[in-house]
């Protein structure tokens, strides 16, 4: 859907984006992650043609990004709002028409959306009479009313209570199922795991990581296991001194021990189990799968642990 190639954006004293290349597959939900000030918003603004890059180019559905593509993009900025004194219905009409819809189409689609979200009665209300969550709902409709092929959502769930967040999340998934590609920028890592097929992580103006979520996670599964066991009577476990693995963490209770180990020297889990079974009574063995949260923290806090990037 979107092919971003070697984008550089320089502001007078800092470089907001430094040679960033990304590929957003069609029909995916693409998580755009990064700490504050990493350059996400700069990139999103370039995709929306609010600003232009200093160098590099973007291909939208195979074509070089042009002003006509604006109507195929829906953008929900992080800094968002509505005209306070305007009636909701008129406001929606205005925003939809700015996106290129004819008036009659706009009216029809807005009505459909309002029915779907059960907010038909809001048409003649003013924004200032709505609560923040209600405003966000309206704003979401404004973003997607022109049925864009690419939807860019920057922190779409902020301001929603859990119930409404769920409603909106379902709508996002529904839109994705109907074929829309979604770029989802957020700091909420749990929701990334729940929603995204692909992610890219930007830190300090550079892309540090991108690819399918599953692959990235797999690449961070660095042979770590948690083993829970009980000591066997009469046997003093001496497994600490072994070339098979390295112990990363230990948790000891009276009748239960838990160690986190990392395999070494091409040994498999079976080798370890063979080694351990004579010594202890094993209760549970599980592989440590890093969460997106861990991956994010690892990449953002210590650049030396960066993994080579994966291209999808």
């Amino acid at each position: 859907m979107l092919d971003i190639r070697h984008i550089v954006k320089q502001y007078s004293h800092h470089r907001a984006l430094d040679d960033v290349s990304l590929h957003v597959p069609k029909g995916s939900i693409f998580g755009l992650l990064g700490p504050n000030g990493a350059g996400k918003t700069s990139l999103i603004r370039i995709i929306n043609q609010i600003t232009a890059p200093d160098s590099g180019e973007i291909y939208f559905d195979g074509e070089l990004l042009q002003p006509k593509h604006i109507e195929r993009i829906g953008y929900l900025p992080e800094e968002r709002g509505l005209y306070k004194k305007m009636k909701i219905g008129e406001q929606m009409l205005y925003l939809a028409q700015l996106k290129g819809l004819s008036k009659s189409d706009a009216v029809q689609r807005i009505r459909t959306w309002f029915e779907k979200l059960q907010i038909e009665s809001w048409w003649d209300k003013k924004v200032e009479d709505l609560s923040k969550g209600m405003q966000q709902k309206v704003q979401f409709v404004a973003t997607v009313v022109h049925e864009p092929d690419l939807i860019i959502l920057d922190e779409p769930f902020s301001g929603f209570d859990p119930v409404n967040a769920q409603v909106i999340q379902e709508e996002i998934l529904e839109l994705n199922k109907k074929g829309a590609t979604i770029i989802y920028s957020t700091h909420r890592m749990e929701s990334v795991e729940e929603l995204c097929d692909y992610i890219a992580l930007i830190n300090k103006s550079k892309k540090v990581l991108d690819g399918p979520v599953r692959e990235i996670k797999r690449s961070y599964q660095n042979q770590q296991y948690v083993i829970e066991f009980k000591e066997q009577e009469g046997i003093v476990p001496s497994f600490i001194d072994t070339p098979l693995f390295e112990v990363i963490a230990e948790k000891n209770a009276i009748d239960n021990h838990e160690v986190t180990i990392r395999l070494q020297h091409d040994n498999s889990l079976n080798d370890i189990l063979l080694y351990l079974i004579p010594q202890v009574q094993i209760h549970q063995v599980r592989e440590v799968i890093p969460s997106m949260h861990d991956i994010f923290i690892a990449n953002v806090t210590d650049p030396s642990t960066n993994k080579p990037t994966h291209h999808a």
Partner: protein, 439 residues
């Protein structure tokens, strides 16, 4: 193009539908007409008040027969007792007077004028001038001069002050009228440029603080949004002026026909109220200054066209700057430091207009100010009632158009960056940096 029309439409409709717009549109002409009516009635009232009845007690004997009644004063000879007269005066109608002429009037030249209320100055003047004439005639007589021949001496002259127009014709010049119109225009354009410019700035700040701006500019270019706003608000301004003109003319017509029955009287009343309002402007000898002619000498079509041209040009020029200021700040209080310097070029000719410009409308200061784009909207309108060569008006108008293209370009470069900067206090240096950003 369709999008910019949508923006213009929203800006226009949302403002015209406001109650405050309707209020201002209808109240201002009412206020104007109301003030005008008030002036008229006050003048009329004072005119009626000046009519005085003067009872004369003539102890000298020959004076009372020489006093003449006129429209302001009616004399009546009274033979009753003085004390009775005075007590009558106490109960008498308003503006009743008692004139006591002593027997030795010709030598003492003292008279007494008793009034029911406070002695009226114009009655005093009237009585005084008549009595002076009586004394003068008496002295002529004593010196053996023929009063009739003296009366026939006529030393009056009439100055026909005319100005030579470009075509070589001489036309009547009415400097006072031109001055009045110049002041009015200058005030009107100054106020409206600042007011509508501020509205543009407020609109920009509103969009920025509401955080809707990023939503909108993901659909349209910042330049389109800025121009849409400027044009929309400008159209509100023009609508307001046109409505004012129509309403004032209608009210004026209704007012004069219902109150005066015919137009000539209205014009006479107008002339009267206008000459007599400025206090120092006392009798210049010829009070029947021909106001109809004076007003006819003003080319209202030219004035109206020039007003609209210079209002529009000035508005476009300044509102772009106001938009840039609005984009650079987060709230209106912060805007103060920037609005001061940009309204300076408007304020200077406005202040000067009360002195230099009006007294010397064709001097070099006035001419230059009326040609330089930033000051020309105000300065040119001050000069126009005095007659400005067409080439100067055209040159000034073209420079103004050039000026607004430059300021719009300049402002849009700051605007596109400014609207996306939240919570950053912009300095002038910062603005220049924004200006240099590429896209």
């Amino acid at each position: 193009m369709r999008k910019i029309l949508l923006i213009i439409n929203r800006e226009y409709i949302s403002r015209v539908k406001k109650k405050s717009f309707l209020l201002v549109t209808f109240l201002v002409p009412m206020l104007f007409i109301g003030m005008y009516a008030a002036i008229f009635f006050l003048t009329k009232q004072s005119y009626e008040d000046t009519h005085a009845v003067v009872h004369v007690v003539d102890e000298e004997g020959s004076i009372s027969s020489q006093l003449k009644n006129n429209k302001n004063i009616t004399y009546s000879l009274s033979n009753t007792d003085l004390q009775e007269q005075i007590s009558n005066l106490k109960n008498g109608a308003k503006n009743t007077n008692l004139l006591i002429i002593p027997a030795d009037f010709y030598t003492s030249r003292k008279i007494e004028l008793l009034s029911s209320g406070k002695p009226n100055i114009s009655t005093q003047n009237e009585v005084k001038s008549q009595l002076r004439e009586i004394i003068r005639n008496e002295q002529y007589r004593k010196m053996g001069l023929n009063i009739d021949s003296i009366r026939n001496i006529n030393d009056s002259i009439h100055i026909a002050a005319k100005e030579v127009t470009e075509t070589g014709d001489a036309k009547d010049s009415h400097t006072e009228v031109a001055m009045g119109i110049a002041m009015g225009l200058c005030f009107l354009i100054y106020i409206s440029l600042v007011l509508f410019g501020t509205q543009v700035m407020r609109g920009v700040i509103e969009e920025k603080t509401n955080r809707i701006v990023e939503v909108v500019i993901s659909s349209v270019k910042p330049f389109q949004l800025m121009m849409g706003k400027i044009i929309g608000i400008g159209m509100v301004g023009i609508t307001q002026f046109v409505l004012w003109i129509i309403l004032s003319l209608t009210l004026m017509t209704v007012f004069s026909t219902t109150l005066f029955g015919n137009k000539e009287m209205a014009q006479q009343a107008m002339g009267r109220s206008m000459t007599e309002v400025p206090g120092e402007h006392v009798n210049t000898g010829n009070t029947d200054l021909d106001w109809t002619a004076a007003l006819d000498s003003v080319n209202f079509t030219e004035l109206t066209i020039c007003f609209f041209v210079f209002f529009l040009g000035g508005y476009l020029l300044y509102s772009a700057l106001f938009a840039a200021v609005g984009s650079a700040v987060d709230n209106e209080t912060e805007a103060g430091q920037f609005t001061m310097p940009i309204t300076m070029p408007l304020l200077i000719p406005y202040v000067l207009s009360f002195g230099v410009l009006i007294n010397d409308p064709h001097g070099s200061i006035a001419t230059w100010l009326s040609i330089i784009p930033f000051t020309s909207p105000v300065a040119m309108l001050v000069r126009i009632p005095f007659g400005v060569p067409t080439w100067q008006i055209v040159l000034s108008a073209f420079l103004l158009i050039g000026g607004f293209i430059v300021t719009t370009w300049f402002a849009s470069r700051i605007y596109r960056v400014g609207i996306l900067m939240y919570g950053k206090k912009a300095s002038l240096k910062e603005l220049l940096k924004w200006f240099n950003y590429r896209n």
